[in-house]
């Protein structure tokens, strides 16, 4: 039987954010916006959703006079991502 796909990750922008954060130690809002080609408003909403679920950690600080939001994946996020990929493999018959 197929495992259900985590609805929080099975969305284009949230999956993109998690995939980027998985391959780096941390990334800021501007970097994520550039990489995902998303709008600030949408990105902000999706970051909040991932943060509320405990998948990512968000730190807000200042660089000079500018605000800087830095995101980092958590252990919970890594586990959720691994489970999501495992489920995907099941759907795509990649599990041998």
């Amino acid at each position: 039987m197929f495992k259900p796909l985590d609805p929080l990750l099975h969305s284009e922008l949230r999956l993109a954010i998690i995939s980027i954060l998985l391959s780096v130690e941390e990334a800021d809002f501007v970097y994520l916006k550039e990489q995902t080609k998303s709008t600030s408003g949408n990105l902000s909403v999706q970051i909040d959703k991932l943060s509320e679920a405990g998948y990512i950690e968000v730190k807000r600080g200042f660089v000079g006079k500018r605000t800087r939001t830095v995101c980092k994946i958590t252990r919970v996020g890594i586990k959720a991502f691994e489970e999501y990929v495992e489920s995907l493999k099941g759907y795509l018959n990649l599990n041998k």
Binding site: L5, H10, S11, E12, L13, R14, L15, A16, S19, I20, L22, S23, V24, E25, E26, A27, D28, V30, Y31, E34, Q35, T36, K37, S38, N42, V45, Q46, V63, G64, Y84, V85, L88, Y91, L92
Partner: protein
């Protein structure tokens, strides 16, 4: 990109694409830290050599402490200016290597000035060239690997050459070990490796 549902295949493609884009972007080389520490060390060494050799006054050796006094704020400035929006695991590992070497270098230099008579130029070159070689291996950049190992070998010359000339030798080794590969790293980046 929007908040849309993907099919399974699209999900896998998106994951692969995001990871690939991130990897490509962080491949760009950055030789600024090598240039800051390299040039600072070379210039301070030349100043110490000139003032010490012309006056014979050993108090000019205190000028060595200009290296961290100039180097650390310059590094902080460069880090802020170069904010690239992303920090990789490689960045963290390299910074830990240099924090440890920097602390050890500062402690051993202070000991040499205030406590014991140590072959400090040899020790510092050996430590910093080891750090350079480790950094080169981590970022897989041949000129940095080569200059690091060259520095390790050249450090032993500091045990052989005595007197004021040893300071000039020290400056020359830093030029070869940090300044030149730092420029190469900036120039070529890591894309060709």
């Amino acid at each position: 990109m929007e908040e849309k549902q993907l099919n399974e295949k699209e999900s896998l493609e998106l994951i692969a694409q995001m990871i690939r884009n991130t990897q490509l972007r962080i491949e760009k080389g950055n030789g600024i830290p090598f240039l800051i520490w390299g040039y600072t060390t070379v210039l301070v060494s030349l100043a110490v050599w000139y003032l010490f050799s012309t006056t014979g006054n050993p108090n000019w050796n205190y000028l060595w402490f200009l290296i961290p006094v100039i180097g650390f704020p310059a590094m902080m400035w460069a880090i802020r200016k170069q904010e690239k929006g992303v920090k990789t695991y490689i960045d963290t590992v390299i910074s830990y290597v240099w924090i440890v070497l920097g602390i050890a270098g500062l402690v051993v230099s202070a000991s040499a000035v205030f406590l014991w008579n140590l072959p400090i130029l040899f020790i510092v070159v050996l430590m910093m060239s080891s750090g350079t070689a480790i950094t080169g291996l981590i970022i897989k950049f041949k000129p940095i690997i080569f200059s690091g190992f060259a520095g390790i070998l050249l450090s032993f010359l500091c045990l052989i050459v005595k007197g004021y000339e040893s300071i000039l030798l020290f400056a020359l080794i830093f030029l070869v070990m940090m300044v030149i590969p730092g420029h190469i790293l900036n120039w070529k980046g890591r894309s060709h490796v």
